[in-house]
């Protein structure tokens, strides 16, 4: 199911005009488009050009068009530790939905308040893949992976200060996870976490139909 999915546009260093052009092409080809890392200023330009575009300032993403209804009921969970991790988590969640996968969001579930996590064990254990987003000490994926059996894609965030060194602390913690079934993407790379989770859901579907 990966073929055919339109490309997600990486908006960080691209001028609004360049994003708009790529967006138009993607829309033309597939009827929907998604751009990440879009500043408010650039978003305004895009909203003008694409009147039905939706912008979420928190996650800095612009979406246009209907996202596909996911086949079956397999789903990925996107879980995040702190309220400041919202933007990265939502980048993962929208990426999954844009590519055609079902998502359950569990935000603000850091390890310092374990009960919130344990209260949602059923949702977590029902998932086919998990994207775990956390900054600061990055402990969430380790705790999670000990509780579930599906692959956990860990996304360290740059949330923190001082010795978090821009997300390095969380990154190293996740790479050293003592629990099985954790792999890691770049700091703040919500897109990457969502993309990998989508690939796992694809594998399942792909297999069923072949």
């Amino acid at each position: 199911c990966r073929t055919g999915a339109p490309e997600v546009i990486f908006g960080e260093r691209k001028p609004a005009e360049q994003i708009a052009e790529i967006m138009a092409a993607v829309l033309h080809a597939s009827g929907r488009a998604l751009a990440t890392r879009v500043s408010g200023e650039k978003a305004a330009v895009l909203m003008e050009r694409f009147p039905d575009a939706r912008y979420d300032a928190g996650s800095r993403m612009v979406a246009v068009g209907e996202f596909p209804e996911p086949p079956g009921d397999a789903y990925a969970v996107v879980i995040s530790a702190g309220s400041s991790d919202y933007s990265v988590a939502e980048e993962a969640a929208l990426t999954l939905e844009f590519l055609g996968s079902r998502v359950q969001r569990l935000y603000d579930c850091g390890v310092a308040g374990l009960h919130r996590l344990l209260d949602r064990l059923d949702v977590l254990r029902g998932a086919s893949a998990i994207v775990a987003v956390a900054g600061m000490e990055g402990a969430l994926p380790s705790v999670l992976a000990g509780l579930v059996k599906c692959p956990v894609f860990a996304v360290p965030t740059s949330v923190g200060y001082g010795a978090s060194f821009g997300g390095l602390a969380a990154l190293l913690a996740m790479l050293n996870s003592c629990a099985n079934g954790v792999s890691v993407v770049n700091i703040d790379n919500g897109f990457g976490g969502g993309f990998n989770a989508h690939l796992v859901l694809c594998s399942m579907r792909g297999h069923r139909h072949s």
Copy 2:
């Protein structure tokens, strides 16, 4: 299919006697056992205790008992870049086989000799998950992920010298992969790469039967 799979024993800091004890318990429960990071000296102790144990000095693993026949024909590829990456790659491959997954090995396929890689595109594109093992500049997963659609689990190795800083160069390169569908485990963590790939194969199988 993850439940029920016996635990892989991490032999690095454990005395031979402690490994032997755990091994005996695992064997008793499941009829097979696998230990990683076993020095030649410790292996000798284990061979004496378990006469049918097999030891591979290159990958430093001890295996006992028959490994299960993998169901279906889905397979994972374990691919490595240089001849010195053998030990980590084999840790991944044996982990997969031990857990019950089918494996294709493609060793010595570094990016400096691209043709070797391109010659095996069919095998690579048929895989359900790939473990890509590389030291030095760690470029293999980026090149690979551009050619295939399944998830690529990148394993940086400590092979190299000078500015490889014990595998840091490869690790950073892999985390920054410009290709979609790459996630990363710890330096030299062949086990982790194999385990994650196994989880993906499990997802497929699990789904089919439910």
Copy 3:
């Protein structure tokens, strides 16, 4: 209660003879002595000189004489994540006992197996101070501090490989703990963790009597 407590001897770079001399002086003054970071070879020299010395190869400590019976029933918990953290954890525990504090040991309680931790919540919540010892991703103190109210002294260990960078990953994780009430000592500094916990127990006792 800190005054009067004999000094703990740091054995790492001292020749056996020098340790023995300091030990004799400490014994003469207080009837008991404790030396940390003592290799097996040096320990042999000390055992010969002090026939009633006890040596624990795992924690590399040599103890001589009776340790004092702790007053009251306040206690510190020393908790560790993995089996390889034993040596650092025991350095903390023996330091506490040597200085006159009561200790409860909870070893092998890593966050990947959360239930072991949750099973001992009563012991943890009854403690007046906790020393939390962990290597690899160092997530234990964050999880713990969310569950208890006393101060948690986190001790990162050098247990791990690759991107653990000799304990750096655990150290950074602990410094970035999102839970309140965590402070950190040097990598592998079990002595420091134990000493600080002892100071807290002292404060309580000191206050009661004044």
Copy 4:
């Protein structure tokens, strides 16, 4: 005494409106509120909403309501090295007072002018816990801990330039303290230093009453 204490609001990444909302809730529950890392601009919004709010631009904190009268005469000392460390030190001091602990402030007492420190030895030796705040070479906690018997919570600050690497130099120095009884929190984490010191004072009081 930790239960019941209202939460300190971390203002760094929160919009003024979100801080105001949490503040209102905290005020409603406990009659007082404290927010850290509040920029002047956000503070203006809060001052309008809470007319009796007090803002200190130096420490970037907003306080509302009466702080509780500390029970007994036990106190913590907050000591800082240089004039630029004021903001972090005051974060620690106000946190202590907000949580209900008595504080003595000793600011501008760096080790390059030892006499200022030695002149206040009586105040330092009377403390039940010390928060030691320093940037640059971070030598203050080591010198201090050699002079007192209570636990010293060291707070490295990002004050400095060049090879201070944003507080890394001070952080490493504090972690390597050769004096007993020092533990460390994150760079610029005045809140953490104050919170830990408060826990020690709580232990004392808690014990007395039980």
Copy 5:
């Protein structure tokens, strides 16, 4: 041919006036001038002073005067991986042309889309020197050097985020290249890459005429 070539002006920390003065002197001596790292603001000043100056905002370079026709048909290739590497690549290309060397540009040829690279093998194999510009994982020079026989000068860029650490990931990858014939210059140093390639072309020409 290196003697006689006018100096390229490094504009980064120089005020517009200082750049203008040096430019006037260089123009007077050789009839052409090139300045790198010129902000839009500074460029405006220069354009006013030198009416026939050409400014390219993407590469931040200002050129004045006719560039020399390169002797012979030997050429250098400047190849770049991603669209954000344009500015550094163009710094290399213009430097080569300014110094009197022929250049072929191959932009947007990252390793994740191998076919684009392989499609231009003839141009690459005909080059006398190659400047390979890439950020993120910096894999391009390794793949390239395995395909060609001339020297490859690798230029890491600061393009990326998170664990790219401002170009460090690409720099380390390039220094660890497993392919023969790669050497590396500073991060974002397009000028250095171009200058070195020019020296190689000079060697060839110099030799022929002696």
Copy 6:
């Protein structure tokens, strides 16, 4: 001239038997062979197998067979800073000779004794490429490149202690060279320096004949 040159064997992680086998194949194909990073022990095995092999313990290289007479009188200079850099410098020099290039060696010419360098300016200025080998502060390439016009390939070495961090100080210095015409290879990579210099000499020759 690069095609046809036999491969240099990298002996570091290969067992003596494996080196011997590759060596036999290379010898058979081209009549000469060169292996780098060969320990004394492994060399003994090779000497037995290839009676006319030459081993230099200082540079840890084994050479077998006649090296080709270089065509023309163009030459590369291999220059080194301190006596401990000998091994890396000689790796570069022998690589050049093995591949068929003429070499001039200038050893022990560090910048602290500038006159030694200045005394050999004629030899340096006559070179077509320079390999500059230095540890510690790595200043040699900067001083050199200011004096000559050919490309300078800088090889940092791990010679030094303390804040040399295994060659990192020299590596960074070389990457930041303020002189034009310097590019850098990995720490201790004498082979890489020699190989690149050889490519430049090849370019010159290749051009002449085409």
Copy 7:
């Protein structure tokens, strides 16, 4: 002669008003004052308050009052490598003059243009102390110290980009100097370099008079 010298005011984090107050006090006591790291904006405030104040935007220093005539003819040299090092070099030079020492300035004498350095050997060899200021590869102190006999105080600057890592490259190079008689101060610490050189000149004078 150190006693009695007025304090140099570090202006970096101090508001203009605070600098003005300290300045007034220093002026009152000694008739002269010097403030470093003063932004243009703060300088404007100071100029208004002290009408005879002199401000140099390049070095960001404000001086008020007559500086003392240095006794004798001993002098320090302040030498710098590149034009961007001016600000740090001038911080050193003015510090020396303010404290009462004679200074010779040799700016723009980097090692890539050796002749400029060698042309001034007489001035360098006549100095009693040298402050050597350099960014990028930081090679100047090593070259210098090989040519002179007095102590060389090396000041690394943050001038550079990419792998200069904010002055780290220059700092490490200087710490690893292979020439005798070099010691190092913090990155950009012109004041520190000047102060140390002044102490050496003081020693000489102090001795003569005692």
Copy 8:
């Protein structure tokens, strides 16, 4: 007085025979010789060759011949923090004596026991230069420089573990010293500290006689 002083032999990477040869030459020229970083094994070879050689295993130095009687009564102090710093401190002290300077040793004077330092203030204040040797947190030079007026040459040592990172913590602390008059040499470079202090004493003497 620097001219004429024989060279100190750096023994670290030199075989015993090479050290012996240089030693013989130095002895012949000046009647005395000093070699640093000499292992016990190499020392044995040297003792055999030079029967009146003196070896100190703690500082790993070999001295031969009479050291000169220092002129006048000016002296340098070599002060060290911990007992494990002995070897580096003694390298500094013997270097000073070998070059002809008078030395006072103050060992084991770390900042955790301030009184030992304060007890020797008279000796410290009488010194013309100080070499301050410390590992771990490296706080000694800051405390010292606040108490004296002469230049302080700080020598960080690799003594410590964990987050001392081989002396990096002490190095950074010393570079960030908030006290005036501190400059720093490489980790464990006792020779460098001694050499610089000697240069200061030379300045004084040189001046007196001119």
